[in-house]
């Protein structure tokens, strides 16, 4: 009898040891693509990086990076200000951007030869070049990255580079723009490149020397190659639950303007748990305080559960999440509501809205609360005393019974 009990107990324990793994495979996506946009404007002839010209520093770094590019990453180069040296700024200088090396599997020799031909020439039409760089990247659902290397701010003004970046990011094509400034002391350049990076979730680097430039470019290429995530599905949340799009498990992206609420519907089967997380990105200059609220509403508009957070200071995103194990008898359609408390100074662009990333997950998981303690086990002197006294009482009682019966 005791042996059976012991065996069962042991079996239970071994069973408890084997818990499910969380490995989650992802679908194969198109190869990641990275397009370098290099400034070849006249100012690149200045000698202030390691005693050499900015152009030569960039070329050396490019040669390093071209050798480094891993298989499976598609690579391209676009130039800006490489062809037109004249004074016709608006007519020709500001549309001077061309594809130097098409985006595709890299041929290292050809790419290096192409880079070697560059000489500092013209104007700096950054916005125009970014639009071209996106066209170069073409279609596909892989990661897309543009790396902008420049020494000066945009000298054309139209289209405004940061607005271009924000619009490209809002197109929902999974685009990131990393910027590298060769003149870190110039505040206008820093501000503009910082704005472009912020608008697309990219990074800004103030380049100090050639080695740093090469290392940084390699790091960016490496990130593109190693981290492969699917581009979130673009969704358009509605004002009302009734019109809201129906979402399955997965990652979605949307845009949300200041003061706007976005709603989405999710179907939850009985015995399943809905998990949702939302992050709203601060892709433009914001006021100091911010917050986000994610609410889950029942079909009749009742709030089931909420996730919220608030903070202040510099941030890239503000995120929160919630979980809701379904206790309904039948499948129910619930409504997720996203609102945020970002605000911005008056001169900040209002549209497109801030990027919202919504992750919905449905796991097979009945909510099974149990005892507060592990396996209902006791711990401490009081349970020991209680058990001992109970045993003593039982022994005495049994002894008395025996006495009466005998």
């Amino acid at each position: 009898m005791a042996a059976v009990l012991c065996g069962t107990l042991a079996a239970l324990m071994t069973g408890a040891l084997a818990a499910p793994a969380a490995a989650e495979p992802v679908r194969e996506t198109d190869p990641p693509k990275v397009n370098f946009v290099l400034d070849v404007s006249g100012s690149m002839a200045e000698r202030d990086i390691d005693g050499d010209t900015r152009m030569n520093a960039a070329k050396r770094a490019f040669n390093d990076v071209i050798d480094f590019i891993p298989e499976g990453v598609h690579f391209g180069i676009r130039t800006l200000g490489a062809d037109y040296p004249g004074d016709d700024r608006l007519g020709r200088g500001c549309v001077d951007s061309s594809q130097l090396y098409p985006v595709g599997p890299v041929d290292r020799t050809e790419a290096k030869t192409a880079v070697a031909t560059l000489a500092p020439t013209g104007w700096t039409p950054i916005g125009y070049a970014l639009q071209g760089a996106v066209r170069d990247l073409g279609d596909g659902d892989g990661m897309r990255r543009i790396v902008l290397i420049t020494d000066g701010e945009d000298s054309c003004g139209d289209p405004e580079p940061c607005e271009v970046a924000r619009e490209l990011a809002a197109a929902g094509i999974g685009l990131t723009i990393d910027t590298l400034g060769l003149t870190p002391a110039d505040s206008a350049v820093r501000e503009q490149l910082g704005c472009i990076a912020e608008a697309t979730g990219g990074t800004y680097t103030a380049v100090q020397d050639t080695d740093q430039l090469a290392d940084r470019l390699k790091q960016i290429v490496e990130r593109t190659a190693e981290v492969r995530v699917e581009t979130p599905t673009v969704v358009d949340g509605a004002d009302e639950c009734a019109d809201a799009p129906l979402l399955g498990a997965g990652v979605y992206s949307d845009r949300q303007e200041f003061g706007e609420h976005r709603r989405y519907r999710v179907q939850v089967a009985p015995g399943r748990e809905l998990r949702a997380s939302v992050s709203v990105a601060a892709d433009r200059p914001m006021n100091r305080d911010h917050g986000v609220l994610l609410r889950l509403l029942a079909e009749d508009g009742r709030e089931l559960v909420r996730g919220s957070t608030a903070g202040h200071g510099r941030t890239d995103v503000i995120a929160t999440g919630l979980r809701h194990p379904s206790d309904a008898d039948s499948e129910e359609t619930l409504c997720l509501e996203v609102s945020h408390a970002f605000s911005a100074p008056d001169d900040v662009q209002r549209t497109p809205g801030m990027p919202v990333e919504l992750t919905v997950d449905l796991v097979a998981a009945a909510d099974t609360p149990s005892d507060v303690a592990a396996f209902g086990l006791a711990r401490g002197w009081i349970p020991l005393l209680v058990l001992t006294l109970t045993g003593l009482a039982a022994g005495i009682l049994w002894g008395l019974i025996r006495r009466v019966l005998a």
Binding site: A10, S277, E331, S370, G399
Partner: protein, 294 residues
């Protein structure tokens, strides 16, 4: 009260057999428990087997976070102002902690003091408070390094859906400068990060179980899923056989104890001891009042 050996025998035999079996059973249980105990004592941290430093690159968002193991170390070169993300697994009943060292590589180019912060988020990307450690600190322009650390609350095995309690699953770390002079943006820094988790002990061994760890999917979503009931099957790994390697939080390895923290805690010893004491007390009580036989 005088006992004759004869009178005791009929009772002692079965009792002796049962107690012997129980003793064997207890020994077996202890045997099974011993490795777990020894492990806890020896390493202090679970999952430190592969604790050798590795250059786990930082990610730039929750979804691209660099994946670490418990006891893992990561180094990354980055720029001031960048948002660096890592993710690591924590099981129920563990106290997780993270520490980051920021080494400035700007050779005195910084112009003013900057404030850095290490944030911990749970699998649902809810910000989790630090119970100990200095998660936010300010350094002046001349400082070479900065150390930040954060200890998480004990991860619960189960919590009500309305609670913000930490649950087993992915834990995201975000390191960034939260306040800095605009001129210092983009300057180079080197970051070393360490994460670890240790067993919180029997006093914090809780019941309940989260059926699946908090690890959100990283796949692109589907609007208007074709069959509403396909939620049942969409989790089936068989349906994803064309899938490639997992990324982000999906690539996390389960902690050695299992997401739910394993079965062992010193509560087994306490409860077992209580049972033994109860048994002994029962025998003593019985002996005390048993009708003396002459």
């Amino acid at each position: 009260m005088t006992h004759t050996p004869r009178a005791r025998r009929p009772f002692r035999r079965p009792l002796g057999r049962i107690s012997a079996t129980l003793a064997v059973c207890a020994a077996l249980m202890m045997g099974a428990a011993a490795p777990a105990l020894a492990e806890d004592d020896d390493t202090g941290e679970t999952g430190t087997g592969t604790g050798s430093p590795s250059a786990v690159a930082a990610g730039t968002s929750f979804r691209t976070a660099g994946v670490l193991e418990q006891g893992g170390t990561a180094t990354a070169s980055a720029t001031i102002g960048e948002y660096l993300y890592w993710v690591f697994p924590v099981a129920a009943g563990q106290n997780a902690e993270a520490s980051a060292t920021v080494t400035f590589r700007d050779h005195g180019a910084r112009t003013g003091p900057s404030t850095w912060r290490l944030d911990l988020y749970d699998g649902l990307r809810r910000l989790q408070p630090c119970t100990a450690g200095r998660a936010e600190d300010t350094v002046d322009a001349a400082a070479d390094t900065l150390v930040l650390d954060c200890t998480l609350r004990t991860v619960r095995a189960w919590a009500e859906p309305w609670a913000n309690d930490p649950l087993p699953g992915a834990y995201y770390l975000r390191l960034t400068a939260v306040d800095l002079p605009e001129e210092d943006l983009g300057l180079p820094v080197e970051v070393t990060l360490e994460v670890g988790a240790e067993d919180a002990g029997g006093a914090r061994a809780r019941g309940g179980e989260l059926p699946a760890p908090l690890v959100l999917t990283n796949r692109a979503g589907e609007i208007d899923p074709t069959a509403p009931a396909d939620g049942e099957e969409s989790e089936d790994p068989e349906r994803e056989e064309e899938a490639g390697p997992a990324t982000g939080a999906g690539a996390l390895t389960e902690p050695e104890t299992g997401w739910n923290g394993g079965w062992w805690s010193d509560r087994w010893l306490w409860t077992g001891a209580g049972g033994v004491l109860g048994g002994l007390a029962a025998i003593a009580g019985y002996t005390l009042v048993r009708r003396p036989r002459v």
